[in-house]
């Protein structure tokens, strides 16, 4: 392990760490065992808690259950995300370009839009679509996701443009490119490349936020978990939840892993190790605050 805090351990420290790891692992096992014991006592592992996944009651087949979860539930989640993501990217790009204009008066609306929507909950914008604009649930979910994420994406691209060395612009002007040529052929391609990990991290956020559809009445993955549990009985909530949570984790962890892989790769080719560290900090920052919560 490389850490700021310690030197490479010598034999004594290594033995101590080894001992500590053993004790820690022991404690963890004890905790797990206690959990399993509790679960067994409450009958959590009995077949009647899980058979909804392979042999459901009420004359339904397992295929029905999986279809309602994966095809209808996850399908609806992915559909909302798949419509919202490209729109948010395009509008975010447009806002980022708008924000680079020279005159403060022209630039102001873009700045206001970005700052405004960055500071508001996604759920509020979904309700705005639903209650104020009269959209249906699907449109309201997409509206909320697009409006919020375009502001964040514009902000990510702005940070990417700001991180480029000044010489890039100067060189482009020196060879006679116009302002827009400089922006579109020199600066933006580099900004997008530097910020690719942050942009992918933002897609994870978008996908996570699509679950807010549950609250505004869009029948997505969480809703299909709830529907199945209400139909088959609340005792199946655990099994159904594990499927739903597993689906989210698999998709999001894959996307996060791709983001990290890209940032490592771009660090190796051309960039420096500092870029990779910078990217990681940016992913961390964009995720929660600028927000990826």
């Amino acid at each position: 392990m490389t850490s700021v805090l310690y030197d490479a351990p010598g034999p004594v420290a290594r033995r101590r760490e080894h001992l500590g790891s053993l004790v820690g692992a022991g404690l963890l096992l004890v905790l797990l065992a206690a959990g399993v014991w509790w679960g067994a006592r409450e009958g959590l592992f009995a077949a009647d808690r899980w058979d909804v996944l392979y042999d459901p009651p009420k004359n339904q087949t397992a295929a029905d259950v999986w279809q309602s979860m994966v095809i209808r539930g996850l399908g609806a989640t992915l559909r909302a995300a798949a419509v919202a993501a490209p729109l948010a990217l395009v509008l975010g790009l447009a806002l980022a370009v708008w924000r680079t204009t020279r005159h403060a008066v022209v630039r102001a609306p873009a700045v206001v839009v970005i700052e405004l929507f960055r500071g508001l909950p996604v759920l509020l914008m979904m309700f705005f679509g639903l209650l104020a604009l009269g959209l249906d649930a699907f449109q309201a979910v997409v509206f909320g996701l697009v409006v919020y994420n375009m502001a964040i994406i514009a902000e990510i691209l702005r940070a990417g443009l700001a991180s480029l060395p000044k010489g890039q612009t100067e060189a482009a002007y020196a060879i006679g490119l116009s302002r827009s040529q400089t922006l579109f052929t020199i600066l933006l391609p580099q900004a997008v490349r530097t910020m690719l990990p942050s942009l992918i991290a933002q897609l994870v956020v978008l996908l996570k936020d699509s679950s807010l559809g549950f609250i505004v009445g869009y029948p997505e993955l969480l809703k299909s978990m709830q529907n199945n549990a209400q139909f088959f009985g609340n005792r199946y909530f655990i099994a159904l939840f594990l499927v739903g949570a597993g689906v989210y984790l698999v998709i999001n962890l894959t996307l996060s892993w791709v983001a990290r892989w890209i940032s490592r790769r771009s660090a190796r080719s051309g960039g420096t190790a500092d870029d990779a560290a910078l990217n990681e900090v940016q992913i961390a920052q964009n995720a929660p605050g600028g927000r990826p919560l």
Binding site: I215, A277, R291, L293
Partner: protein, 217 residues
């Protein structure tokens, strides 16, 4: 427009609930997040793994799913004492935000150059001195702006509690919006103003701190 001034009491009541949720969840997630971050940089492998797993799993889980778990799934785990909506929201928001706090703190500690700590040890400072005099003062500067951003996100995330029985700002807006359907947009613009009252000043503080503590390495 009148709908906002007419229902100012309801707005303020909702705003207070949102503020309470935000502050309490911020304190709880800060405590849990610091523990997680400490585990994450500890020399014991198992503890590092536990903390890393928690952070990775929670960061990739929707907050709605955390609420969903506490409200619908946890009661099926056995005879647990029932908890009210407010406590549920507090629990979900704290467990969720702690992962982001831990990540911000960890990247702050790691952003301090390795040479700094090596030099500190080379001049004979103890572990405690190294941490207190060299690493943490530098780490805190890098950590504060992202941490403020985490809490801005937390403020916005408290709105999810509206979907699970808490009448905070968003929940208030939803109720008023249904009652005054004709003025739906004004009701929600009122809600937006109250959220911006928290998030924009916090954002300005984060930016100011960032500029103030910016230093070249």
């Amino acid at each position: 427009m009148n709908v906002i001034t007419d229902n100012l009491d309801a707005y303020v009541a909702g705003f207070v609930v949102t503020l309470q949720l935000t502050l309490l969840a911020a304190a709880a997630s800060m405590a849990l997040g610091l523990v997680l971050a400490a585990l994450r940089v500890s020399p014991i492998r198992v503890l590092r793994a536990v903390s890393a797993t928690y952070v990775e799993v929670v960061r990739n889980t929707p907050l709605t799913l955390v609420f969903f778990f506490i409200v619908f799934v946890a009661p099926q785990l056995g005879n647990l004492p029932p908890i009210d909506f407010g406590t549920t929201a507090l629990l979900a928001l704290s467990l969720y935000t702690a992962a982001f706090v831990a990540e911000a703190v960890r990247s702050g500690i790691n952003s301090v150059g390795v040479g700094q700590a090596e030099a500190a040890r080379a001049v004979g400072l103890t572990f405690g001195q190294t941490l207190r005099e060299v690493v943490l003062p530098q780490a805190v500067r890098t950590v504060i702006p992202p941490l403020i951003n985490v809490f801005i996100a937390l403020t916005k995330n408290t709105s999810v509690a509206a979907g699970f029985g808490v009448v905070e700002l968003m929940g208030t807006g939803r109720r008023l919006g249904v009652v005054n359907a004709a003025d739906g947009e004004w009701v929600l613009i009122g809600v937006a103003i109250f959220y911006l009252l928290i998030t924009i000043p916090l954002g300005l503080v984060a930016g100011a701190v960032e500029r103030k503590v910016a230093f070249s390495r």
